[in-house]
């Protein structure tokens, strides 16, 4: 079973992603902030990581930078999931090493399709 790590400081946000992806047949791991996200990623080596950008401590940008330095995560798809509508955020995210960019609120099918595409 493929493992997906979802990092979001809001439990409801994590649970939504968990509910959608578990139904699609993935094992979902959770992290409540950036630091935990890096730790869980190193322990569990998920096949795909979904990161909220705005998190206390280390934000999504910081996490992706950290993980991309680690050769274990060189090819791991990492999706940004953010409520930010600021211009330039998407460009910055892609430049820092994100593989995909989805804005909140999500359309469930869009999330399903993106995850499926990246894990195919």
């Amino acid at each position: 079973m493929k493992k997906v790590l979802v990092a979001d400081d809001r439990p409801t946000g994590r649970e939504l992603v968990r509910a959608v992806l578990e139904k699609s047949g993935y094992e979902v791991l959770e992290a409540a902030d950036g630091v935990e996200a890096v730790r869980v990623a190193r322990e569990q080596l998920p096949n795909l990581i979904i990161l909220d950008i705005h998190m206390p401590g280390r934000d999504g940008f910081g996490v992706v930078e950290e993980l991309r330095k680690d050769s274990q995560f060189a090819a791991t798809p990492i999706i940004a999931l953010t409520a930010s509508a600021m211009q330039g955020d998407r460009e910055r995210a892609m430049a820092l090493g994100f593989t995909g960019y989805i804005t909140k609120p999500i359309r469930l099918d869009a999330l399903r399709q993106e995850v499926e595409r990246l894990l195919r």
Binding site: R10, T12, G13, L16, A19, V20, K23, H54, A83, S84, A85, M86, T103, K104, P105, I106, R107, L108
Partner: protein
């Protein structure tokens, strides 16, 4: 008293007369040859007496008439003479011969010239007198004090203004040193400067850069401006000084300077305030956009889960819902989507109003953009069996393609929203006055005349007067108008309740312009 023989008197007369007088007898022999004739023609009376005249003499036929002729003198030179004849009669009245009067025209010419010279001199003298009078008039008409000073600095001439300006009578000033008219403390310096003037005597303002002062009879001082000119007269070199009282001008200048200084000070203060205010506005602007970004983020975050979970529930993957539950979940989902739309619109409008929308203009064919918008509009139209007709030429626009699509989407989704089942929507495009013009018409409920002006206002909703349709944010048309205007275009509406509406807007053409104007 001694008596004179008439002959002696006559003789004396003949000798003295400036005219040449010759008397010829009937045979043409000279009987009299006056000293004047001798003077003009050279021969003495003794040489010609009782002989025909030694030179040719064409006498005029009629006595009394004059004739100018040229005769040879004894010295062989030619002389121009004027001849006049008269009959010579004796006491009984019988003709004895002819008397010839001749005048030397050369002499006369000389005299005429002399006369002309005299007249010219007289005229010159008169002109000089006239000039002198004009000069006096000018001198007195001048608004400035004018004085003339000789080499020793004594005043030799002055006009009336000088008297009134300095408060002296003419007699008190004539012959005085010019230093008399300046304050005591600078008199010595003036004597020194006056001496130096003769090294470079030329017309120039005096003491340029210094503030000069005059001194009145009562000892008071006043600011003056003086210009000096050297004058050469028969009495030697002199200096004319034109003295202008600058009291009023100085006051005006001082006033002006004070006003300018105050104005500059106030302007600088106002500038500082303006800069301060600008900084405050910039700060407020930054805070506002930070607030907008953060508010948008904070609102979307819970909406994300509301929309997500309601959609999830509606999918019934976690369990089958009964009809009522399904309807309720659907309500939550729809209204949360509406809330999202509202948040997006508010944010968008705020950005537009803050001037934060940067148009990313490019050249593109309008038809492509229309098709893309129709792709998302058609399903909605199909659901209400609304027909959509598109007509128009190929139009190359220079605009922000995404924003144009937003404009078209707003107008078309409104058209679908307000058009009843089975209606029609038309999209017509044309090129008008350098703009691409797009008309979105529908057979919808229309807009009452009195509301047509306010449809572009924020939060205006036709819902106020129409039943059932009330699902927009009330911001769509406000945003649409702002976007059209950002492009430099304009938007207008024509509508008739119950018949339909037509929204027409313009967008700039591609300046390179290869658009066809044929439909």
């Amino acid at each position: 008293m001694p008596s004179h023989h008439p002959g002696e008197v006559l003789r004396a007369l003949l000798e003295a007369a400036p005219l040449g007088i010759i008397a010829l007898d009937t045979r043409g022999c000279v009987k009299l040859w006056s000293r004047g004739a001798e003077h003009t023609l050279g021969w003495t009376e003794a040489e010609v007496l009782n002989r025909p005249p030694p030179m040719e003499l064409h006498l005029p036929e009629d006595s009394g008439s004059e004739q100018d002729l040229r005769a040879l003198t004894r010295h062989g030179t030619a002389v121009d003479i004027r001849v006049r004849t008269a009959p010579w009669r004796d006491a009984a009245g019988s003709i004895q011969g002819t008397v010839v009067f001749l005048s030397d025209l050369t002499t006369q010419h000389v005299m005429e010239r002399e006369l002309q010279d005299v007249m010219a001199q007289e005229k010159e003298a008169r002109t000089a007198i006239h000039a002198e009078r004009r000069f006096r008039e000018l001198l007195e008409a001048a608004p400035d004090a004018i004085i003339e000073v000789d080499r020793e600095g004594r005043i030799v001439l002055l006009n009336r203004v000088t008297e009134t300006l300095f408060g002296y009578q003419r007699d008190e000033l004539l012959g005085q040193r010019v230093e008399f008219l300046i304050p005591e403390d600078v008199r010595n310096m003036h004597v020194h400067h006056r001496g130096q003037y003769w090294d470079h005597p030329q017309t120039r303002p005096m003491g340029s850069g210094l503030s000069l002062q005059g001194r009145r009879k009562d000892g008071s001082r006043f600011p003056v401006e003086i210009s000096l000119s050297p004058v050469k007269s028969e009495d030697g070199f002199r200096v004319t000084a034109v003295i202008r009282d600058t009291t009023e001008r100085k006051q005006a200048e001082d006033n002006l300077r004070r006003i300018q200084e105050r104005y500059t000070r106030e302007l600088s203060l106002a500038n500082q305030e303006l800069q301060q205010r600008n900084r405050e506005i910039e700060r407020a602007d930054r805070l506002k956009s930070e607030f907008l970004a953060s508010m948008s983020h904070e609102l979307r975050t819970p909406l994300h889960t509301i929309i997500g979970f309601s959609e999830l529930l509606g999918e019934e993957l976690e369990g089958v819902l009964n009809e009522k539950q399904k309807r309720f979940v659907n309500h939550i989902h729809k209204d949360s989507l509406h809330l999202l739309e509202l948040i997006n619109d508010v944010l968008d409008l705020s950005k537009i109003e803050a001037g934060r929308v940067e148009l990313r203009s490019e050249t593109f064919d309008a038809a492509g953009a229309v098709e893309e918008v129709l792709a998302s509009i058609r399903p909605q139209a199909l659901a209400k069996s609304i027909q959509i007709e598109v007509a128009g030429p190929k139009i190359l626009l220079y605009a922000d393609r995404v924003r144009l699509k937003q404009i078209l989407y707003n107008l078309l989704s409104n058209a679908v929203k307000f058009t009843p089942e089975g209606g029609r929507i038309g999209i017509a495009s044309a090129i008008v006055d350098g703009f691409g013009e797009f008309s979105i018409s529908d057979t919808g409920i229309g807009i009452p005349k009195e509301e047509q002006e306010s449809v572009f206002d924020k939060f205006y909703q036709v819902g106020a007067t129409t039943k059932g349709v009330r699902e927009g944010t009330g911001l769509g048309l406000a945003i649409t108008r702002r976007l059209v205007e950002e492009h430099g275009g304009a938007i207008r509406v024509e509508s008739e309740p119950g018949v339909g509406s037509r929204f027409t807007f313009t967008i700039p053409l591609d300046p390179a312009g290869e658009s066809e104007s044929v439909a």
